[in-house]
């Protein structure tokens, strides 16, 4: 029990140490007010584009789900960059503790953070557009959101490790965010993409979640949850990839010595 408490405490410290949202006012604007304006903007755009609310509903929920990218990129995505910036990366590397655990601790609270934004987004959509669903649909949506948030955060840590190769972290993050935004299928069906670009969306996070949301909103809860499992697989792959990538960078830094990893 004490072990778990210490683990959670440390995850919290890891979050606090690199997080930008320390004062309540900044948190409120960055994680709640701005995302909601963004959601409203896309909701109206989609409502106009798809003409009927019936067609737009799925996309509006999918866009609420996409709000998780704010934490995944601006929170998780800057972890390594910010560790290097304040000179603490060296100790993250030097620790004898399993890197798997260290990385997991760094991400944990960002996942919860993202989940808050997504949940508020979905509630806002329900209130503003007057959606009415059965209770089990809400439960399924919550579960799907959790899995999707975990997956996109894993992708965030993957992007974050590339942050060690660049000085222009913001550019990297906006590219990642735009790509996920356009290819997730959250705004239009993936099959509209030309040249088999639909394949790209298969290997990006959130695309399966968006399909899952579509199923669930249309009442097919079980097929929706199945799609969500695929999302977890995608997330896991990115998490493992990022782990090996960091190991690789560490090795490179030790061998070449001219990498400015630290």
């Amino acid at each position: 029990m004490r072990r778990i408490a210490a683990f959670l405490r440390n995850s919290w410290l890891a979050f606090k140490g690199v997080s930008l949202w320390l004062n309540p006012q900044a948190y409120l604007t960055e994680k709640i007010v701005n995302p909601m304006f963004r959601l409203l903007f896309y909701a109206f755009l989609l409502a106009y584009g798809y003409k009927t609310m019936e067609n737009a509903t799925v996309y509006i929920f999918a866009n609420a789900m996409l709000l998780s990218t704010i934490s995944a990129f601006n929170g998780v995505g800057i972890i390594y960059f910010s560790e290097r910036h304040q000179g603490t990366l060296i100790y993250t590397i030097m620790t004898p503790k399993s890197k798997f655990v260290v990385i997991f601790q760094k991400v944990l609270f960002h996942i919860l953070d993202a989940l808050i934004t997504v949940t508020i987004g979905m509630l806002l959509a329900v209130v503003i557009f007057n959606f009415k669903f059965a209770g089990n649909i809400y439960a399924a949506l919550l579960l799907i959101s959790i899995l999707g948030t975990v997956s996109v955060s894993a992708f965030g840590i993957f992007v974050s490790s590339f942050g060690l190769l660049t000085r222009d972290i913001n550019m990297l993050l906006s590219i990642a965010e735009s790509v996920v935004f356009l290819f997730s299928g959250a705004n239009f069906p993936i099959k509209r993409l030309p040249f088999g670009l639909g394949f790209v969306s298969q290997i990006l996070p959130l695309s399966h979640t968006v399909l899952a949301i579509r199923s669930v909103v249309r009442g097919n809860i079980w097929s929706g949850l199945k799609l969500s499992y695929m999302e977890i697989v995608v997330g896991l792959v990115y998490f493992v990839l990022s782990f090996f990538f960091i190991r690789f960078l560490e090795h490179q830094a030790r061998v070449q010595g001219n990498s400015d990893l630290y």
Partner: protein, 257 residues
């Protein structure tokens, strides 16, 4: 003549500084394709108004993104780089320099506008009927005027707020949907439409959309509204600037670090 020379110097400097940042190059040259791509896949391409939004609306939105974003935080940036003091001490006046910078940002923003137009017509194969080029150009200049006035006001108001960076992200999306760049204002709830009617860009945008849908005559009144509002904004901005200057001298609160 002297003002023109200062303006040109500011323009040159602003372009140089801006393009030395990779992120800026990226947001001027690459990001503009974002909205047109999104709209291309979401909107029904058969309809004429969709094409106008995909091409013209997205182009205006990217122009606005560059102009407003760089302008609104202009004073803040001067403060952070520690040049605010030296710039405001120059005899030509701080207000004129900031104003020049905003015009410079608008000129740079035109690159994004161009990128979007070229991308939409060459890659997305969108065509846009412009019924009167002369009128279109004139109306576009009025739109630029509304951009400049709005950016100028935002720059001063955000500076007064003391936290320009945070507020900038907050006003970004509301302005997108209040100004009717990417979808008509009509689809918004009534009370939101009232707010949007005090934004000059919204009226300019309406006029431009009317020109490309073949209704040049009904585009004159909205444009007049836009001009009047823009002038009002400029006056307000000028007044806010006075407050900033006084506050800065009195309390030293807006000085450098």
């Amino acid at each position: 003549m002297r003002y023109l020379r200062v303006f040109l110097a500011v323009l040159k400097m602003q372009t140089k500084i801006s393009f030395s940042r990779n992120l800026f190059k990226f947001s001027v040259l690459i990001m503009p394709i974002f909205f047109s791509t999104l709209l291309y896949f979401v909107y029904d391409k058969a309809s004429n108004s969709s094409s106008s939004y995909i091409m013209l609306g997205s182009a205006v939105a990217s122009l606005w993104g560059v102009t407003c974003y760089s302008s609104a935080i202009e004073i803040e940036r001067e403060r952070i780089s520690g040049t605010l003091e030296s710039v405001s001490m120059t005899p030509i006046g701080f207000e004129f320099i900031i104003f020049s910078k905003i015009i410079a940002n608008t000129v740079i923003g035109l690159i994004s506008f161009g990128v979007t137009l070229v991308y939409s017509s060459l890659i997305l194969q969108i065509s846009l009927p412009v019924y009167s080029y002369r009128q279109f150009v004139l109306w576009f200049l009025i739109l630029l005027f509304s951009f400049i006035s709005m950016s100028f006001l935002l720059a001063t108001l955000l500076t007064l707020s003391g936290n320009a960076f945070a507020w900038m992200s907050t006003v970004q999306y509301p302005i997108y949907f209040l100004s009717g760049m990417l979808f008509p204002v009509k689809i918004l709830p009534k009370w939101v439409q009232y707010i949007s009617s005090v934004i000059p860009i919204r009226w300019s945008m309406e006029s431009l959309m009317k020109i490309v849908s073949g209704m040049p005559n009904s585009s004159i009144i909205p444009n007049l509204i836009s001009i009047i509002l823009s002038l009002l904004y400029l006056a307000l901005a000028h007044y806010s600037f006075r407050i900033i200057e006084i506050k800065r001298r009195k309390e030293g609160t807006l000085g450098g670090f």
